[in-house]
Each structure stands twice: as structure tokens, then as C-alpha cells.
């Protein structure tokens, strides 16, 4: 077995940086971090090669941007991390089992510095027995030290893996979902209102076709390069594209696919607007009551102090973010369990995120503490946003029900009712939690 090859795989585990560089006077730290920075570019030959580092190098270990890592390949996929993990576990098991072959194996390991020693002060402080220079040592000593080192390596590399959920949420893996331009986002936001009544309209025409590029090319008379591409999904129906091909789309274009910029920032904007407008409406309601009591009681002002409620911001945040992220994830799980595979998670997050665009003007209308106006405007925007979600979601559900896929007829109706029900609950929560005025 090639130990050198295995060491490179083990080094894959170290990115993003597993050991935070500590401001200690331990020189091992600086050298360890220096070697860590050079891991991908060259095999670990001499960890004592460069003794000096500048501060930028040390602290840019936290940097997740690719400019320092431009020479290296992209973040290894989950499979390679798991493969490396399995290899490491196999090595741990092999090291734990005392055997004569192990001693030979360890002597080949001793030629190269073990990856644990490159981790930093966590493992290096307990690793004093293992020097860089290979030396013959007793089997038992090596066993114990290597076991400790292995344990510590696995514990010191857990945090970045945990933070990025095993690489799933790292910057590199989320970057394709942010591959949008300003014009794309504006077009998607406009289409979320425009195409809310078109079956699969939003999905086909905005996410998975190049209408955006054709529109910009049509308007600016410049050549629109095909940027990125997502394969059109199985559920995309081209029959509905005929009514919206005003720009001469020849069908089946490769669009940019769903993005995550829109949902996150539309939700954030709506959180802010909700918190602001709900407090404004409560303030106007309160001052209106004060004025009314002044008029009624002839000059005695109400004694209640109106205070700003900062909790509205917190409630708005968790309610809206669970609506636009957790709910699509739950729906995605449900769809997958029922065998509907035409959506991805990001698709659903996109639907729900862009459907919140309909609520933005409503929040400003609801500033006026007039109850029937609030109910009416919230109703209208719930209908619009619900239509957007429904029109794009029911297509594949009904297809998989009709085609004898995973969903029976009854269940498909149930799923659609569940989607409608979630929206209705959201509507009620919006009204009652944020714009509810208690009339004394």
C-alpha cells in the first residue's frame, strides 16, 4: 500500500483548517500552520523548511475564499472525504492491532511526519515522543502515542466538518447557487408576480430557460453569452411555454437554475419590513386610541406608555426563515419519501422564497391600523404567493400520480392540501402575531 498516497488523502481532511492557529509562543504552531498552508501544493517534505510566516498567512487560515487556494483543486467532495475517513479508520484499526506487520508499517509511517503532528499545539504538545526525525522506538510506545494522536486528530478536525456539515454547506459547494447577476434577480422577482398564475410558469420560464438572457440581449442588443447551465428537469412541461415566449424562445433553453440569493435576501428584507411596520402600526393604533380617549373623556390622556417591542424582530426572523427554508426542506423530504423526484431542495426553497415577494407591499399597506384593510391585503398577497407555489409544485405531483409513480390519487390531493394549508397557517400567523391590535 502506498503510504504516501494515503497521507494525501488524510490531508484532504484538513481543509478547511482543522486547527485554529493559536497565539502561543509555541513555535510548533507557526510551523504547523505554515505547513498546513502548503499542504495541497506539495507533499510534506520538510516541515521545518520555512521558519517564518507573516501574519497574513497565519490568520488567513480562516479564509474561506479561494485566492490563496487557487492553486489547489476545489473542495473534495463528500465521497472523497468519506473515503479518506474510511481509510483513516482502517489505519486506526490496523494500528490498534498489535502485530509484527504493524511495526513495519509504522516504520514506513515514521519516515514522514504524521498528519497529527501537523495539526498544531493540540496534538503536538502530547506528541513529544515522536520526533520529526525517524527513530526506532518501542512498539508499545508507538502504539499508545499513535492511538492518542489519532484520537486527537479526529477530535481536532471535527469542528470545521461540523460547521460545514461535512462539506455540504461550505462556501465552495454553495457557490453555484449564487451564480446570478443583478438582472437575473430583478427578473425573477418580477416574474414571481407575473407568472404566478401560469402552470409551471416560474419554474420553466425563469429558472430553467434562458429567457433572462434573451431578454437582456433583446433589450441591450448585445450578445448574451450562455452563462452556466442547469439541465431541464423531467417535470418541465413545454406546453405552457408557448404563451410566454414573447421573446422568441425556441424552447428547452439552459437557464441558470435555482439560486439561493433571492430567498435569503427577500426573506431578510421581509423580516425587517415586518418588524418595522408592525411596530409602526401598533404605534399608530396606540396614538389613535390616545386621541380617542382624549376626545371621549375630555382631556384625560391615557397613561399607558408605548414601548418599542424588539421581540417582534426576533419572532419575525424565526417565523419567516422557517417558512422559507425549513418548510421547503420538510416538503422535499415528504416528496422524496413519496417518490416525487422532480424537485431539488433548492427548487422548493426558491419557490417559497420568491413567493414572499408578494408580501412586501402588503407589509407597508398594513401600517395603517385599519383592521379590514390589513385582512384584505394579507389575503390578496397570500393568494398570490400561494398560487406561485401551487402552480409550480402541483405539476410534478399530479404527473407522478397519474403516471403510476409513487403517489396515489388520494395522496396527491392530500399533498396539495398540505401545501395550501401551510400557506394558510402562515397567513394567519402573519396577521395575528404582527398586526393584531387588542381593542380594550
Amino acid at each position: 500500500m502506498s503510504s504516501h498516497f494515503k497521507r494525501d488523502d488524510l490531508f484532504l481532511l484538513d481543509w478547511p483548517r482543522s486547527s485554529p492557529p493559536k497565539r502561543t509562543c509555541c513555535s510548533n504552531t507557526i510551523i504547523a500552520v505554515e505547513v498546513n498552508n502548503n499542504i495541497m501544493s506539495s507533499p510534506p517534505e520538510n516541515p521545518f523548511s520555512s521558519g517564518d510566516t507573516d501574519d497574513n498567512n497565519r490568520f488567513d487560515a480562516f479564509q474561506l475564499s479561494p485566492d490563496k487556494t487557487s492553486s489547489r483543486s476545489s473542495l473534495p467532495s463528500l465521497q472523497s472525504i468519506q473515503a479518506a475517513q474510511q481509510q483513516q479508520q482502517m489505519q486506526q484499526q490496523q494500528r490498534a492491532a498489535p502485530s509484527s506487520s504493524q511495526q513495519q508499517q509504522q516504520s514506513t509511517f515514521d519516515n514522514l511526519p504524521s498528519p497529527e503532528e501537523l495539526q498544531g499545539p493540540i496534538s503536538s504538545t502530547t506528541n513529544n515522543n515522536n520526533d520529526w526525525i525517524p527513530q526506532p522506538s518501542s512498539t508499545a510506545n508507538n502504539n499508545i502515542n499513535n492511538n492518542i494522536n489519532d484520537n486527537q486528530q479526529s477530535s481536532s478536525s471535527i469542528l470545521p466538518k461540523f460547521l460545514t456539515c461535512g462539506g455540504a454547506l461550505s462556501i465552495e459547494s454553495l457557490r453555484p447557487y449564487f451564480d446570478v447577476d443583478t438582472a437575473d434577480i430583478i427578473l425573477r422577482m418580477k416574474s414571481s408576480i407575473k407568472y404566478c398564475n401560469v402552470p409551471d410558469g416560474f419554474r420553466n420560464e425563469v429558472l430553467y430557460s434562458d429567457n433572462a438572457m434573451r431578454l437582456s440581449a433583446f433589450r441591450e442588443s448585445t450578445a448574451a453569452g450562455g452563462e452556466g447551465g442547469e439541465t431541464t428537469t423531467a417535470g418541465a412541461s413545454t406546453s405552457s411555454s408557448s404563451e410566454v415566449t414573447s421573446v422568441g424562445n425556441v424552447g428547452g433553453g439552459e437557464g441558470k437554475g435555482p439560486d439561493l440569493y433571492g430567498p435569503t435576501w427577500i426573506t431578510m428584507t421581509l423580516v425587517f419590513f415586518l418588524a418595522v411596520t408592525s411596530n409602526l402600526s401598533l404605534y399608530f393604533h396606540h396614538s389613535g386610541k390616545q386621541y380617542q380617549s382624549l376626545v371621549d373623556e375630555g382631556g384625560v390622556a391615557a397613561e399607558e406608555e408605548w414601548d418599542y417591542d424588539i421581540n417582534q424582530l426576533l419572532h419575525a426572523t424565526w417565523i419567516l426563515y422557517s417558512f422559507s427554508f425549513l418548510l421547503p426542506m420538510g416538503l422535499y423530504l415528504m416528496f422524496r419519501l413519496m417518490g416525487i423526484i422532480s424537485f431539488s431542495v433548492v427548487d422548493l426553497i426558491c419557490f417559497y422564497g420568491y413567493s414572499l415577494v408578494a408580501y412586501i407591499p402588503t407589509t407597508w399597506i398594513c401600517v395603517a391600523p385599519v383592521s379590514w384593510l390589513q385582512w384584505l391585503s394579507l389575503c390578496i398577497s397570500t393568494v398570490v404567493s400561494g398560487m406561485l407555489v401551487l402552480r409550480n409544485v402541483t405539476g410534478p405531483i399530479l404527473e407522478s400520480a397519474g403516471g403510476g409513480g409513487g403517489v396515489g390519487q388520494g395522496k396527491s390531493g392530500g399533498l396539495i392540501m398540505a401545501v395550501i394549508g401551510c400557506h394558510f397557517i402562515f397567513f394567519l400567523v402573519m396577521k395575528l402575531a404582527f398586526y393584531h391590535h387588542v381593542h380594550h
Binding site: L64, V180, I185, D307, Y308
Partner: protein, 168 residues
């Protein structure tokens, strides 16, 4: 203030003074932003209603640090090549004008100048000043078609901070 320039130029070029500042900020540190954040949080929580003092302090602190982090990560996801800590440093130092206007509002509240529309004026001065260098800083890393996407969170971040200042 050059916002239109930032949005429309191909390569954002900082002016001479701004370039000096940005070069100095390359050796980032987080003590300054921490001090600014603490002073802003203390000012706001002293004027908050007594039931919500700790809430306000926590909110300001969390909004500032998590907000800067979110803005930075958003710019990186859009393709910017900047380091997290340097941009935390720049965004944190740019909160300083908002702290100044918060202090101004707090001091003027007890005098006859403490009217809402005057507060808005101080606040908008602070907001415009705060967004000047930070928008140039963030804008120079992102390509032109996406610059508004990267700058909107910056504006939004300072808007949230300004709104928190206005309330308390």
C-alpha cells in the same frame, strides 16, 4: 458620493484618500470594531426601556457581528476574493459614524433639539458616511454585473443598525 460610480464602473477605483485607508486596513484588527460595537450597544441599551435593556444590547451586538459576517460570506459566494477578517474589520470600523450619530441623538434628546426629524437627519448623515468606504471596499472585489447584489446587503446592514439607533 459616488454610489452610481461604484455601481456602473467596470473596475472600482478608490480615490487617493480611500486607497490609503484601505491599504492601512489591510493589517486588520478587531479591537477597534469591538470597541465601536460595545459603545454603540451601551449607548442604545442605556436609552432603551428598562424591560428590554439586555435585549437591545444583545440585539445590537449580534446584529453587528453576525451581520458583517453574513455580508462578507454573501460577497464571497457571489464571487468576491476577499478575506473574511479584513472585511469584518472594514465593516466594523465603518459603524463608527453611526455610533457618532447615536451619541448625538442621545445627547440632543434631552435638549430642545431632540425632535424626530432632526434625529433622522443625523442618522442619514451617519448612514451615508458609513456606506461610503464600505461600498467601495466591497464593490472592488465583485464584478460589475453583480455589484448591486453584493452592495445591497451592505446597505441593508447599516440600515438595520440605523433603525435600531432611531428606536432607542
Amino acid at each position: 458620493f459616488g454610489y452610481v460610480g461604484v455601481l456602473q464602473e467596470e473596475n472600482v477605483e478608490a480615490s487617493e484618500g480611500q486607497r490609503n485607508v484601505l491599504n492601512q486596513l489591510r493589517d486588520w484588527d478587531l479591537w477597534g470594531p469591538l470597541f465601536i460595537c460595545l459603545s454603540l450597544a451601551i449607548i442604545l441599551s442605556l436609552r432603551a426601556p428598562t424591560k428590554q435593556t439586555s435585549h437591545v444590547f444583545t440585539t445590537v451586538f449580534v446584529v453587528m457581528w453576525i451581520g458583517s459576517l453574513v455580508v462578507t460570506i454573501n460577497a464571497q459566494l457571489l464571487g468576491a476574493n476577499m478575506s473574511i477578517f479584513q472585511s469584518l474589520c472594514v465593516l466594523g470600523y465603518c459603524v463608527f459614524p453611526l455610533t457618532v450619530s447615536a451619541l448625538t441623538i442621545a445627547l440632543l434628546r434631552v435638549t430642545w433639539l431632540g425632535m424626530l426629524w432632526l434625529d433622522l437627519i443625523w442618522l442619514s448623515i451617519g448612514f451615508l458616511w458609513a456606506t461610503r468606504v464600505s461600498s467601495v471596499f466591497v464593490g472592488q472585489f465583485v464584478k460589475k454585473e453583480r455589484r448591486l447584489l453584493a452592495l445591497y446587503p451592505v446597505f441593508f446592514f447599516y440600515l438595520i443598525l440605523g433603525w435600531l439607533i432611531l428606536l432607542f
